[in-house]
């Protein structure tokens, strides 16, 4: 276990040979594995399911499962029938009925994840490594997976399981190892370790500011009003409003459609039905520029692909969304640009060698600050934040929280999308919960608890939660808070 960016995934990559480690050795049966050699690791029986999608979107489940160690009938020829049979068997064992020929890009996130798990299970492994396998799974799917894992455990397979969900760890693990900032904090038998102790190991200090802000209930002007927003297959009939100075949390499981709603409000994708009003004026659909002009900003979820342009400099990134307004007679004004960049960097205390360095040399937290700064530079009155602290370290997280609060107190209408329930609870004045593309419920600040949010968010209404050991903290929930 460990916080975001603690180095868990990187360690796994070293073990499985897909990243070369600088020092130390990996030994299997007292034999040292060569560095950065995937084949050797596989031969030694190490099988890993990596966190980021290692799927081949154009290929079907059969190929995804067997690529790299295909079943052959004659030399050089695939044994397709046997591969299909085994693939189907595996998927059935995982409780998924899918067309194993269908390209993965046509499957749902959870189904894709199941294919990945099937791939890991298909290998004859002695050490099976799973890196956050349940992040996008429903309770039922998680349950099935756990049954299989216990079975493997009984067969003598060693399991290395990475998760942010304390419940899963307690349900499955014998021992727990905690990493922090790329270092080993310690390994303990699970039985000896209470939850609080475990969390302390991960965070490295007592829980950070839980300060409830002293802001009064927001009763400002309605800044953002969304009515009946729908797009087929993604979300339906989304209606809510956000007032000036209010922080509205939007919670839900991965794949609930929150990102799509935010993107539709901002105009990245056009909604099929419904309207968005900003301060009572209708916002034209599918027009990002119009949204920016009316004071809406979206800090997207995926900063590497949507938020930032990694090879460009910090300055260029900070300018990107405002560059058209920092002009004089249509020409760029270096003076205005410099002022804007300096303001953003100072306001967010971005740590970089200078504004001219490429963003991809920055740490994740600083990248996220640049992403935030880029949007704050447009001087928005409505801020849509999609997972603003994903992959951000504790210190930076606290800064981001403070920033969000201070913006709100200055009158910013904020929609906060987060899978980090404590975060939602700590920041929001009001919490909306989405389930399968629909608004499933609304909770006021005073009545909201993690249990209540989850009851709205889980597909099966949270009933199966206790038996599967699904934690009160869903995907990415930072257990520390």
């Amino acid at each position: 276990m460990g916080e975001n960016g603690a180095g868990k995934s990187t360690l796994i990559k070293c073990l499985s040979g897909s990243v070369q480690h600088d020092g130390g050795t990996v030994e299997v049966d007292a034999l040292c594995l060569p560095k950065g050699n995937i084949a050797a690791a596989e031969a030694a029986g190490i099988v890993a399911l990596h966190q980021e999608s290692t799927a081949f979107p154009h290929l079907g489940a059969i190929d995804n499962i067997f690529i790299g160690r295909e079943l052959r009938r004659a030399p050089g020829l695939l044994d397709r029938p046997r591969m299909r049979r085994e693939a189907q068997l595996l998927m059935e064992r995982l409780g998924e009925r899918i067309d194993v020929d269908r390209p993965l890009e046509d499957l749902s996130l959870a189904q894709r994840q199941m294919v990945g798990i099937a791939r890991a299970l298909s290998r004859r492994s002695r050490l099976l490594i799973l890196d956050e396998p349940t992040a996008s799974l429903s309770a039922r799917e998680t349950q099935t997976l756990f049954r299989i894992l216990r079975q493997l455990q009984a067969e003598g397979v060693a399991l290395l399981y990475i998760s942010h969900r304390l419940e899963e760890v307690y349900a499955l693990a014998d021992r727990v190892t905690v990493l922090r900032d790329g270092r080993l904090v310690g390994t303990h038998a699970i039985a000896d370790l209470g939850r609080d102790a475990l969390v302390r190991m991960m965070v490295g200090r007592e829980l950070l500011d839980q300060e409830e802000s002293e802001r009064g209930t927001a009763d400002g002007e309605i800044m953002l009003e969304v009515r009946g927003l729908s797009r087929q297959g993604e979300f339906a009939d989304i209606t809510f409003s956000v007032r000036a100075g209010e922080i509205v949390g939007l919670a839900g499981l991965v794949g609930a459609g929150r990102t799509e709603v935010a993107a539709a409000i901002f105009g990245i994708e056009r909604a099929e039905e419904g309207t968005v009003h900003v301060q009572g004026k209708p916002l034209s659909q599918g027009a990002v520029r119009a949204s920016i002009a009316s004071g809406v900003a979206l800090v997207p979820e995926d900063r590497q692909h949507e938020g930032l342009i990694l090879p460009l400099s910090v300055a260029d990134n900070l300018l990107l969304s405002v560059i058209n307004s920092l002009t004089r007679f249509g020409f760029r004004s270096r003076r205005k640009e410099r002022a804007s960049v300096e303001k953003s960097m100072r306001a967010l205390s971005v740590k970089a060698a200078g504004p001219g360095v490429a963003v991809n040399t920055l740490s994740g937290g600083n990248q996220q600050k640049v992403s935030l700064g880029k949007w704050l530079a447009t001087e928005p009155r409505i801020l849509l934040l999609d997972e603003p602290t994903r992959g951000v370290d504790v210190g930076a997280k606290a800064e981001v929280y403070r920033l969000i609060r201070s913006l709100a107190s200055e009158g910013m209408a904020t929609l906060l999308i987060s899978s980090d329930l404590p975060e939602v609870l700590a920041l929001s004045d009001r919490i909306l919960v989405m389930r399968e593309g629909r608004l499933a419920g609304e909770l006021s600040r005073s009545e909201a608890t993690e249990e209540k949010i989850l009851a709205f968010a889980l597909p099966d209404g949270g009933d199966s939660r206790m038996e599967t050991g699904r934690s009160a903290i869903p995907h990415d929930g930072n257990a520390a808070i």
Partner: protein, 344 residues
């Protein structure tokens, strides 16, 4: 790229309704079918106007003409599947033709035909291998490498030929171009063999599936333990080899090897591969699609003659060819838009 719809039907195992929708889904999702429909439609229309267009003889002649394109496209498909491109095949073909001619013409090296053929295959394979080396070890974009090679090889070809065409091709060599086996021209055997091998390679071998995988998601492929560079090297080398095969079975059909052999061939083959449904960014594409596109684009020129449109229509030939490509792409785009898929 996927297995046939029948297999899907059986494997879906669900209600017939679901199977039908799976088949329809595939139909809409694959460029092959747009190309095939256009191909059949064109054959039908022109055939209705002039039935001799559909005569066995004409169909065979058209296939013979398309054979070298199909053969080269079989190789290029794999290169494009890996997200790379090879535009050197035109000049490569020219140089290989000259080499083949010089090696076996009695007034030059006068080697036995089979040795000349073997050496030509070796040369073609080496050119492909060199392209692959520069792309993988040189870490250069393939479009630049092969653009450079396109120019270099055509220069080398001209210097080698030195303005003297090769007119005295030995009978043994001509047989490769004009001869038949069981009443079927040799080049059709070669094209059929190339297509069958390429389809088998793509669908039934680990190598082929790995090429799809590496093109679909190179990082994931590396994590799965595949050597992406080896796959690329293989695809370029295969393309070089198949270009040599295409040269060997098509050039001896004519009595003279001249300096312009292969000119513009590269664009033709690239066009066929992309019209056949391959995605420029890799991962998507099929040998059958490329081959069908070659047949489709091969219809344009004969079509205009068989329609007896007269002299002025001749001048619109290229415009119609361009329109055909746009049509195939548009048809696919429309089918794709209904499914909200990203562009290729």
């Amino acid at each position: 790229m996927n297995d046939s719809a029948t297999e899907a039907t059986s494997s879906a195992g669900g209600t017939p309704n679901r199977a039908v929708s799976t088949v329809l889904h595939r139909l809409a999702s694959q460029r092959e079918y747009a190309v095939l429909a256009l191909l059949i439609g064109t054959l039908g229309v022109v055939g209705a106007f002039n039935p001799s267009f559909l005569s066995g003889g004409n169909l065979r002649d058209m296939l013979v003409q398309d054979a070298p394109i199909v053969i080269a496209a079989c190789g290029l498909t794999f290169v494009v599947l890996l997200g790379e491109i090879d535009i050197s095949i035109g000049s490569s073909m020219g140089l290989l033709a000259t080499a083949l001619g010089l090696l076996c013409s009695p007034s030059h090296s006068a080697l036995p035909v089979w040795i000349a053929v073997a050496l030509t295959l070796l040369l073609g394979t080496s050119i492909g291998f060199l392209n692959g080396l520069m792309v993988t070890f040189g870490r250069m974009p393939s479009i630049i490498v092969t653009l450079g090679m396109l120019t270099v090889l055509s220069g080398v070809n001209l210097l080698l030929m030195n303005g003297k065409w090769i007119t005295d091709l030995p009978q043994g060599l001509r047989y490769l171009g004009v001869g038949t086996l069981l009443h079927v021209p040799i080049c059709l055997w070669a094209a059929a063999a190339a297509v069958i091998c390429a389809v088998l390679l793509a669908r039934e071998t680990p190598l082929g599936r790995r090429i799809y995988a590496a093109g679909s998601n190179p990082d994931a492929a590396r994590m799965a333990g595949l050597s992406v560079w080896k796959l690329k090297l293989f695809a370029f080398t295969l393309t070089g080899f198949l270009t040599a095969v295409a040269t060997i079975v098509s050039v001896p059909r004519l009595s003279v090897i001249e300096s312009g052999v292969g000119q513009g061939f590269e664009l033709l083959v690239v066009t066929c591969v992309v019209v056949g449904g391959a995605s420029i960014s890799g991962g998507r594409g099929s040998v059958i699609g490329s081959a069908l596109a070659a047949l489709l684009l091969g219809l344009v020129r004969p079509m205009l003659i068989f329609l007896r449109l007269g002299v002025s229509a001749t001048y619109w030939e290229r415009a119609i060819e361009g329109a055909f490509i746009l049509l195939a792409v548009l048809a696919d785009h429309l089918a794709r838009r209904t499914r909200k898929e990203p562009h290729r």
